[in-house]
């Protein structure tokens, strides 16, 4: 992608930069909650953005697919209904996304813009969003985005991108961030970054070096084509008996997955007033596929666990040519049964 310009922001000046972004935008960024857990959350103050976080446990998908989204509200009186659409989304910035989380946004884009029924609420929020990615020089042991071909220094699909300079992220010694402006939406943030100096020759060399080192860290790629082909042939295999067995059927993996996007539509009614809302849902729940008749085509956890893997690594690839997994490792971190998706993929690859 053509870089429009590059500014250098000292780490100590990041709150000033974030504060400037917050003028006229809601800003979603990595922050630590009271328990010390890194999560993506809407900032109330610029200092809350935390640059020591790796991949926050709560993904940034809430910026585009809130946990609860009002589709419309209504008022009923004397047999007549008045329907009010929700207000248009405010301009917002998703800040500090790891390249794998940026890839996850691409997955959501593919799903929610698919014809014949592009999802208007999603697209409206997406259009109102400026994406600022962030490069990482270190990789948490749970993260396997490199194995999926995602380079943690890649700025593609971002409007702007932060490259940490000097020192590794693990030692928390990053002293400056290089802000790459990549699109018109990025340029529109000029007021926030204009006060910072342009990158000098040495900075440009440091950025190039960081990218070069990242690219040089070759890891064996997972062969997604092989996995997809294998999955097409093992729908009825006994393998799923083993894979699902430790799963307790909670929705932690799906709710914290940056690409899982299934939802339920519910009515929230109080007297004459009501709202039609959509809320996060997951194929891991029995209720997800239970028909009105009571019949459930995915009767047990076996079918539900299979669905999760199939959707991510077969159906997604077949329909949108992109795996619905970005290797962020969140599901590995939160699974109470430690049912590691990397091991599941290995079992599938090795299965004869």
């Amino acid at each position: 992608m053509m870089t429009r310009e590059i500014r250098i922001i000292p780490l100590s000046e990041m709150p000033a930069f974030v504060g400037a972004l917050m003028q006229g935008h809601k800003v979603l960024a990595p922050t630590r909650n009271d328990d010390g857990l890194c999560v993506f959350a809407w900032l109330a103050a610029p200092e809350q953005a935390d640059w020591t976080c790796g991949i926050p446990q709560v993904p940034p998908k809430q910026a585009f697919l809130p946990r609860t989204e009002i589709l419309f509200t209504y008022h009923r009186e004397k047999g007549r209904e008045t329907i009010t659409p929700p207000p248009a989304p405010e301009p917002q910035i998703a800040l500090g996304l790891h390249p794998c989380d940026v890839q996850a946004v691409k997955v959501l884009d593919a799903v929610f813009s698919a014809e014949p029924s592009p999802d208007q609420p999603y697209l409206a929020r997406r259009a109102a969003t400026t994406l600022i990615g962030r490069g990482f020089t270190e990789q948490d042991p749970l993260v396997f985005c490199r194995e999926l071909g995602i380079d943690p220094m890649d700025n593609r699909d971002c409007d702007a991108f932060l490259v940490p300079l000097a020192g590794g992220q693990a030692e928390h010694t990053t002293s400056r961030m290089a802000l790459e402006i990549l699109t018109d939406k990025g340029v529109a943030l000029r007021l926030a970054y204009d006060g910072f100096p342009k990158a000098g020759v040495e900075d440009l060399a440091a950025i190039a070096e960081a990218r070069k080192q990242s690219a040089a860290r070759g890891v064996p790629l997972l062969d997604m084509a092989v996995i997809q082909r294998r999955l097409e042939n093992i729908f009825n295999s006994d393998l799923w008996n083993r894979i699902h067995e430790p799963c307790v059927g909670c929705g932690a993996c799906a709710f914290l997955c940056p690409t899982c996007h299934c939802f339920d539509i519910q009515e929230e009614v109080m007297g004459q007033d009501g709202a039609r809302v959509r809320v996060w849902d997951t194929c891991q729940f029995d209720l997800f596929t239970r028909h009105a008749s009571g019949h459930n085509p995915r009767l047990s956890q076996k079918e539900r666990s299979r669905q999760r893997i199939m959707h991510k690594f077969s159906y997604g690839v077949g329909k949108f040519h992109i795996p619905f997994c970005v290797g962020c490792g969140r599901c590995i971190a939160v699974c109470p049964a430690h049912n590691d998706v990397r091991q599941i993929l290995k079992e599938i690859s090795d299965f004869k």
């Binding site: 809130p66 929705g251 932690a252 049964a337 430690h338 990397r342």
Partner: protein, 336 residues
């Protein structure tokens, strides 16, 4: 006193001699400081998970899995939850003190048949809270735990740190009153001493004295973290309703929005269902991806049941739980 045996030896014996169809134990997980459940199917499993395998391959897989069995400070999961999956099959399960109380609970509620169960008791001094250790170490990837008397040694990014056992284990373990299994057919270790603990923890005393406003603020804050993924419910051995109230949709009882009142309603109802049944194993707290601290509320409930009925859940399978029985001698007239 049950016989002390070696974990792998007894597993191999039970599985190869067809004394059990399924063995549920622990194996090292892919994450540092964590153990994952390991479910092993025996040669005589009537619903074998690997029906299509050749007998040799099947035996190999069983042997490999038996060799992978572990029991140590990492084994936090309450495996009793899996008994619901293997209801009518002869099953062996590894239980810590806390987990053994869940077995008693299920026996009391006639959810498992003692005849089908082989209980492998594991005396336990507490399991490591890896998220807390990560915080102490300032590193999310602490590994290589090593126990030296009353200290653990943790390694992180090349440096070692000694941490007191009491600082590294879960709060539920620090407050545990049952380190040794209350029911078992075999033990895989020597009994461990049970420390003397006050009837009510200082935290509970403080909570009881706190103003309603303070308690409400705290409850609101805890509930605001919940994302309604139901990991707490799905991990709880005592939560086995075929259709949970939270999944009822004709009519819908509990909403699923991010309004904290939805999480409150879910957790309050679940708490009510667990009154006199929760054994305090802490599975719900450990499994919560959002660190919702349900422990305090469960503790509160348990301390009330103990005070009012002198009852501790999951201690004796011959005793009826107080909220599941009545007595003609009850002091309350309405119940007689």
């Amino acid at each position: 006193m049950p016989k002390q045996v070696d974990l792998k030896t007894i597993a191999r014996d039970l599985l190869t001699k067809g004394k059990v169809e399924v063995f549920i134990g622990y194996q090292a997980a892919s994450l540092p400081l964590a153990a994952a459940p390991l479910i092993i199917h025996g040669a005589k499993d009537s619903v074998d998970a690997s029906q299509s395998m050749a007998p040799d391959a099947e035996r190999d897989m069983m042997a490999r899995k038996v060799a992978a069995l572990i029991f140590d400070d990492r084994c936090e999961m309450n495996l009793v939850n899996y008994l619901h999956k293997f209801k009518d099959r002869k099953t062996a399960v590894v239980v810590k003190g806390c987990d053994s109380r869940s077995v008693v609970g299920l026996l009391q509620e006639k959810q498992v048949d003692r005849k089908n169960l082989v209980i492998i008791g594991a005396p336990c001094r507490g399991v490591v809270d890896r998220r807390h250790v990560a915080k102490l170490m300032g590193c999310d990837a602490s590994r290589e735990v090593d126990r030296e008397g009353e200290h653990f040694r943790f390694q992180c990014a090349g440096s070692w740190k000694r941490v007191k056992v009491a600082d590294a284990i879960y709060t539920a373990c620090r407050e545990c009153q049952v380190h040794n299994p209350v029911i078992a057919d075999y033990w895989i270790g020597a009994p461990v001493p049970q420390p003397d603990l006050p009837e009510l923890t200082a935290e509970m005393e403080a909570l009881r004295k706190a103003s309603p406003d303070h308690r409400w603020t705290r409850f609101h804050k805890e509930m605001s973290k919940c994302i309604l993924c139901y990991a707490c419910r799905n991990l709880c051995p005592a939560c086995y309703c075929k259709t949970c109230f939270a999944d009822a949709c004709k009519p819908k009882w509990v909403g699923r929005t991010d309004d904290p009142s939805d999480a409150m309603l879910f957790h309050l109802q679940r708490l009510m269902h667990l009154g006199g049944r929760c054994t305090g194993c802490g599975a719900c707290v450990r499994g919560c991806p959002m660190n919702v601290d349900l422990r305090l509320y469960n503790d509160h409930l348990r301390s009330h049941v103990k005070q009012e009925y002198g009852f501790m859940a999951g201690m004796d399978s011959a005793v009826h739980p107080p909220l599941a029985m009545y007595s003609m001698g009850d002091c309350n007239e309405f119940i007689r």
